[in-house]
C-alpha cells in the first residue's frame, strides 16, 4: 500500500533509507512488546540516571543531494598537486576494473571479517593471493593477511624479534634512514615493552653494542639502495634478528629481503593501486621465515579441507588471538586491512609479474634520467644507487626550488634545510620529469640520458615472483571482471542479508556515504603536503571531531588510531602520560572486568600496565563492593579502569557512574570501551557517565564498512585534562605517543562517517539508536518463546543486542552452538557472534538498518532450528546425520547420492532460505583441525 503523498518525504534519508523499519512496522513491533511508543520503550530500557534529557543538536538532517554537494564544496578546498614526496606514499593508479568491481562493490566492502569461513571463501582466496604476493616479492616463506600500516608493521616486527631472539640484549637499532613516521611509532611502542630503542647509523650501532635486532629501510627513506648482507650477517652472528622494511615495487627489480638474509620483512602495499588518501587506509605487510611463523601477529589465511575433502580456506591459528590469550597475548591486533589488501592483491593479479616489473623499470628509468639532468646542471645526487628516489643537496637554493616546483603544481620533499628529495612513481611521465627539471633551473627539454645510474649488479633480483597461475591469467579485462565476480559470489555480505553479529554493529553502509571516498580530491593527497593544500580535509576532520565530541561529551578527539585496539592503546598511553605529568609514575595497574573483551587486557599489557581482573557476577555485572575493595587495595597504583558500556552482555548497567566515581576517588582514570556506542548515540554520553577517554569504532557505529575485515577507525575522545597527551603527528619534530603512520590515521574513510552524521542530523542519529534498541528487543521477544535470553536489564529489556542461550535448547543432544550457527547459513544468514561473551550462546545485534521482514525471517529461521533440535532430542531423526550436523549444505550435497534421513528440501531450503535467491555456500563445513595441523598459507599449484 502506498502512503498518502503528504507522508512521503523522498529526501528523508534518516527515516526512510537508513532506518530499516517503517513507521507502521515500528508501531507493530512496539505493540508486540507492549509499549505505546518508542520513547516509552527507551525510558523503560535505559536507567534514568544514565539517560540524557537534552536532545542531540547536530543540525538538521540533510538530503543525499545536499550532502554530496557540501562534500563537493569541501573537496574543492583540497588542492591536488603531483606529490613526489615519497616517504612511503606514492602516486598509483587503481585499475578502473578493480575500482568498480571491488572498491565500489558492496559485495566486497560490506563483508565482515572471515571468521565464518564457509561464507567467506571469495575474500579468503583474495587474501591468500595477497599472502602469496608478499611472500614472493619479499622472498620469505610466511606472510600474514596484512597489518594496519607500515609503521605498525615495523613495531610488530620489533615485538616479534623480542619474542624469538635468544639474546638477553634489550637494545633494538633503527637505522636513521628509515621513514620518520616508522621511527616515531617504534619509539611509542618500544618504551612500554622495556626496549631500549636507538636510532642511528645501524651499520655502526650494531657493531658497537649488544642488540637483539635492527631495522633497515630498503631502499632507504632518501632513496639509497644499499647492500645489507654484511650487516645482516653480523646480526645473525650475534644471535640478533634483521628486519627490513622494503618497498614492494622496488622488489620486482631488487634482490629480495629473504635473499639478503632478512628474518622479517615489512612495509606497505599502498603503491599497488591503493589511493594515498592523505594517509590511508592502506594495508601494511609482514613476512618472515618459516621458523618464526608461530610468532606472527594478526590474521593468517590457511588452506584446509571441508567435510567432503575439498580445498577450503579459513583463518589459521585463531587461538593465538587476544580474546583467548588476554593479557598473555603478544599483540593486541584484532583486525587487518582486508579491503586495501584485496585491492593490492588484485593489482598484482591484474598486472602480473611482467606488468609489475615493467612499471618498476619505467619508474627507475625516469628517475635515472632526472638524476642525469640534475647532475648536468650542477646538482649531483647524494647517492648514485637508487630505485625511484633522488636526493640532492641544493644548499641555499632549497626554498627557491621548492616554490618553483610548487608553481609547476609539484610537491617535492624538503629534507633538513639544504636537501630536496624527489620520488617518482607509476604516474610520473615525461611532463612531470621536465617540470621537475625546470624547478631546478634546467631548460625545458626533457632529458633523455639515463645511463650513468645503473642499479648495482649484485643487488639485482634474479629470482622469479608471482609465478602462480592466478597472477598470470587475468590480463584481459573480461577475465579479470569475471574472476572478481566469481570470488564475490562465494561470500555472504550485507548486500544479501542481515549480519547480526553482536558487538560488531553491521549497519547500512549507504551508497552516498561511500561515493566521496574515490574522488581524486580526497584520494590523491599525500599525508605530508603543506596543510594549505588539505584545507578540505582539515575542515571535514574538524567538523566531524566537533560533532563526535558533542555526541560523546568529550572535549577533544584524535583521529590517529586505525582500529579500536589501537585506540585502546593510545588511550591508555594518554592516561599513563597524564599520571606521569603529575609525578604519579606508579599508577600502572589496570582494572578490567573478567567479562571484558580480551583485547582490553592485551592493550593494557602493550602499554606496560599490569592487569588486575575484576570478577563479575553471573550476569556479567560488576559487584560494587568487590570493585570498591579492589580499587582501595590497589590504591596509589591504580592507573585505570577499563570497562565497556553498555556492558559486553548487552545490558545498561545502572552502576556505571558509581564505578567511574570509585575509580576517580582512588586516583585512577576511566577508559570506557566504545564498542557498544550504537546503544547510546543521542541518548547518553560516555563523557557524562564518567569516562575520561574512550575509543569510537567508526566502522561500527558510524558506518565505515567492515571491508571484509578492515579498514577500521578507532579515534579516541578525551576529557580536556587528557587532551595534551593525545598522539602527535608522527612526522612532527616533537612526535610523541604516535600510534599510526599518518597523523589522521585513515582520513579518506572519515568521509563515510562525516556523510553519515550530516545525513542523519542529531534527530536521525537519536532515532537510529532507539530503533536499534527496538530491533534487539523485538528479536529477544520473539526468540524468548524457545530460547533463554541470557541477560537483561531493567524491565527485562536488553540494549542494542541480545545474547541467546542455546545450551538449554540443545541439552541432551550432541548439537553444538556451532551447528546452530552453521545452520543459519542454510537459512541465508551470516551467523551471529558465537560463544562470546558466554560459551554456548549466540550474541545477536540486528542494528537499526534491518526492516521487520528481515528480522522476522531471522526469527523464523531460529525458531525452526529449535524445532529441528527437538526432533533430534525426540529421536525422530539421527543424532549425527541431521540438518544441523550436516550444515551448511552445498550443491555438491544434492547432486550426488543424497542418502540422508531427511529430504533435500528440508536440508537445503529451511524456513529462512529465499526460494528465488538461495545462497549456496561454496564449501561444506571446514575442518579447522586439519588446516592447523598441516599449515599452508600460500597459493600453490594443486595444493590440498
Amino acid at each position: 500500500m502506498t502512503a498518502p503523498p503528504t507522508l512521503y518525504h523522498p529526501d528523508d534519508f534518516a527515516n526512510l533509507r537508513h532506518i530499516g523499519p517503517s513507521t507502521s512496522e515500528i508501531e507493530s513491533m512496539l505493540g508486540e512488546l507492549g509499549f505505546e511508543s518508542l520513547d516509552a520503550l527507551i525510558d523503560a530500557a535505559i536507567p534514568p540516571e544514565v539517560k540524557r534529557s537534552a536532545p542531540l543538536d547536530l543540525g538538521d538532517p540533510l538530503t543525499e543531494k545536499q550532502v554530496l554537494k557540501k562534500i563537493r564544496e569541501v573537496a574543492a578546498k583540497n588542492k591536488v598537486c603531483t606529490s613526489l614526496i615519497g616517504t612511503g606514499y606514492y602516486g598509483t593508479s587503481i585499475p578502473s576494473v578493480i575500482q568498480r568491481n571491488i572498491l565500489e562493490n558492496p559485495a566486497w566492502y560490506t563483508a565482515y571479517t572471515p571468521y565464518q569461513p564457509e561464507i567467506s571463501q571469495g575474500r579468503l582466496e583474495a587474501l591468500l593471493n595477497f599472502q602469496t604476493m608478499i611472500c614472493d616479492l619479499a622472498g620469505l616463506e610466511i606472510a600474514n593477511a596484512s597489518l594496519l600500516d607500515e609503521a605498525t608493521a615495523c613495531a610488530e616486527a620489533m615485538a616479534m624479534a623480542v619474542r624469538f631472539t635468544k639474546s638477553r640484549a634489550r637494545t633494538f637499532i633503527v637505522d636513521h634512514c628509515c621513514h620518520p613516521q616508522s621511527i616515531a611509532v617504534l619509539r611509542t611502542r618500544a618504551r612500554p615493552l622495556g626496549i631500549d630503542l636507538r636510532v642511528g647509523n645501524a651499520s655502526e650501532e650494531i657493531r658497537s653494542q649488544e642488540v637483539f635486532g635492527a631495522l633497515f629501510q630498503y631502499p632507504d627513506t632518501y632513496g639509497l639502495v644499499r647492500d645489507l648482507r654484511e650487516d645482516i650477517r653480523h646480526l645473525h652472528d650475534a644471535g640478533a634478528t634483521a628486519v627490513v622494511s622494503a618497498d614492494l615495487l622496488a622488489l620486482s627489480m631488487l634482490k629480495e629481503p629473504g635473499a639478503l638474509g632478512a628474518d622479517i620483512a615489512v612495509g606497505t602495499t599502498q603503491r599497488f593501486g591503493v589511493p594515498v588518501g592523505f594517509g590511508g587506509p592502506h594495508a601494511g605487510y609482514i613476512a618472515c621465515g618459516e621458523k618464526y611463523w608461530r610468532q606472527m601477529p594478526g590474521r593468517i589465511v590457511g588452506v584446509s579441507v571441508d567435510s567432503r575433502g575439498r580445498k577450503a580456506l579459513r583463518l589459521a591459528l585463531q587461538t593465538r588471538e587476544q580474546h583467548i590469550r588476554r593479557e598473555k597475548a603478544t599483540s593486541n591486533i584484532c583486525t587487518a586491512q582486508v579491503l586495501p589488501a584485496v585491492l593490492a592483491s588484485m593489482y598484482a593479479v591484474y598486472h602480473g609479474p611482467r606488468g609489475i616489473r615493467a612499471i618498476a623499470e619505467r619508474v627507475n628509468l625516469l628517475a635515472r634520467r632526472l638524476a642525469t639532468a640534475l647532475e648536468a646542471i650542477g646538482f649531483p645526487p647524494d647517492h648514485r644507487d637508487f630505485f625511484d628516489t633522488v636526493t640532492v643537496n641544493v644548499g641555499t637554493k632549497q626554498s627557491g626550488i621548492l616554490s618553483l616546483a610548487l608553481a609547476e603544481n609539484i610537491n617535492l620533499r624538503k629534507i633538513g634545510s639544504d636537501r630536496v628529495g624527489i620520488s617518482f612513481d607509476e604516474l610520473t611521465d615525461e611532463v612531470t620529469l621536465s617540470s621537475v627539471c625546470r624547478a631546478f633551473g634546467a631548460d625545458s627539454s626533457v632529458p633523455l640520458e639515463s645511463g650513468k645510474f645503473e642499479l648495482p649488479i649484485d643487488l639485482l633480483r634474479d629470482s622469479a615472483f608471482l609465478t602462480h597461475p592466478v597472477f598470470n591469467m587475468n590480463r584481459c579485462e573480461a577475465g579479470a571482471t569475471r574472476y572478481m565476480r566469481r570470488l564475490a559470489d562465494r561470500d555472504l555480505a550485507l548486500d544479501r542479508c542481515m549480519i547480526p553479529l553482536g558487538s560488531c554493529t553491521m549497519k547500512l553502509n549507504a551508497a552516498a556515504e561511500m561515493m566521496p571516498v574515490t574522488w581524486p580530491e580526497f584520494g590523491e593527497l599525500h599525508p605530508h603536503v603543506p596543510l594549505g593544500q588539505a584545507e578540505g580535509y582539515i575542515e571535514m576532520i574538524d567538523d566531524l571531531s566537533s560533532k563526535l565530541c558533542a555526541l560523546t561529551g568529550f572535549d577533544a578527539i584524535s583521529m590517529q588510531p586505525n582500529s579500536g585496539a589501537q585506540g585502546e592503546f593510545a588511550g591508555l598511553m594518554a592516561i599513563l602520560a597524564y599520571h606521569e605529568s603529575r609525578g604519579e609514575n606508579d599508577r600502572s595497574i589496570c582494572l578490567i572486568p573478567t567479562s571484558a573483551h580480551g583485547t582490553n587486557a592485551a592493550s593494557a599489557r602493550m602499554a606496560g600496565m599490569s592487569v588486575v581482573g575484576i570478577e563479575t557476577n553471573q550476569d556479567g555485572t560488576i559487584d560494587l563492593e568487590t570493585f570498591e575493595e579492589t580499587s582501595r587495595k590497589v590504591g596509589a597504583r591504580l592507573g585505570a579502569t577499563m570497562i565497556t558500556y553498555p556492558s559486553t552482555h548487552g545490558v545498561f548497567e545502572p552502576t556505571i557512574m558509581r564505578i567511574a566515581e570509585i575509580t576517580h576517588r582512588n586516583g585512577g582514570q576511566v577508559y570506557m570501551d566504545g564498542a557498544n556506542l550504537n546503544a547510546l548515540v543521542g541518548l547518553a554520553r560516555l563523557g557524562d557517565l564518567g569516562s575520561d577517554v574512550s575509543h569510537l569504532n567508526l566502522h561500527k557505529t558510524f558506518c565505515i564498512p567492515h571491508g571484509g575485515g578492515g579498514p577500521g577507525m578507532g579515534p579516541i575522545g578525551v576529557k580536556s585534562h587528557l587532551a595534551p597527551f593525545l598522539p602527535k603527528d608522527p612526522i612532527s619534530p616533537d612526535a610523541e605517543r604516535s600510534v599510526s603512520s599518518a597523523a589522521f590515521g585513515s582520513p579518506s574513510i572519515l568521509l563515510v562517517s562525516w556523510a553519515y552524521v550530516l545525513l542523519m542530523g542529531g534527530s536521525g542519529l537519536t532515532q537510529a539508536t532507539k530503533v536499534a534498541i527496538l530491533n534487539a528487543n523485538y528479536i529477544a521477544h520473539r526468540l524468548r518463546k524457545r530460547y533463554e535470553i541470557c541477560y537483561s536489564g531493567t524491565n527485562g529489556l536488553v540494549a542494542h543486542e541480545c545474547i541467546v542461550d542455546t545450551r538449554l535448547a540443545v541439552a541432551g543432544t550432541c548439537v553444538s552452538v556451532e551447528d546452530v550457527a552453521k545452520r543459519l547459513i542454510d537459512n541465508g544468514f551470516h551467523p551471529p557472534t558465537m560463544s562470546w561473551p558466554v560459551l554456548g550462546t549466540l550474541m545477536i545485534e540486528p542494528t537499526e538498518s534491518e526492516c521487520k521482514a528481515e528480522l522476522d525471517r531471522f526469527c523464523d529461521a531460529m525458531l525452526e532450528i529449535h524445532g529441528e533440535i527437538e526432533k533430534i532430542r525426540d529421536a525422530k531423526i539421527d543424532p549425527h546425520d541431521n540438518p544441523l550436523k550436516n550444515a551448511p549444505h552445498t550443491i555438491m550435497d544434492i547432486v550426488g547420492d543424497w542418502g540422508r534421513p531427511y529430504t533435500r528440501s528440508d536440508g537445503c531450503f529451511p524456513a529462512g532460505a529465499m526460494k528465488d535467491a538461495k545462497y549456496w555456500p561454496p564449501v561444506n563445513r571446514i575442518d579447522n583441525v586439519w588446516g592447523d595441523r598441516n599449515f599452508v598459507g600460500l597459493q600453490r599449484t594443486g595444493n590440498a
Partner: protein
Amino acid sequence: MRYTKDHEWMVSRDGEVVVGITEFAANQLGDIVFIELPEEGATIEAGAEIAVVESVKAASDILAPASGVVTAVNDAIISNPGLVNEDPLGEGWFFRMEFDDSGEFDTFLGKEEYQLLTQE
C-alpha cells in the same frame, strides 16, 4: 602417578620425572594442533611457563611442576600433536626432567585427590 592442579601428570622413573597432560586436560582442549616444548638441558623454575599447547579452541601454557633441569623432550608430539589426544598418558608425554629436590615428587596430588578436582 602424581598430578598437579594444572592438570599435568608425572611419573617418577630412574631418578627422572616424566611429565604430560591428563586425559581430562586433553579432552577439555579438544583437538590439539600445536605444541611448543622447552629445550633439552634447560633449567626451569617451579611455576614458570615452559610449554604451550594450542587446540582449535584454546591456547594454554604448561607450567613447570617443580624446579629442575629438562633432560628430554618428546619430539614426536611436535610433528604429530594429535598423539596427545590419542594417548595422553603414554605416547603423548611432554618432557622428562630431574627435580632439584627429588623429595618434592610425593608432595603432589594423588589419583583420588586429582579426581576430586576434576569432578568439581
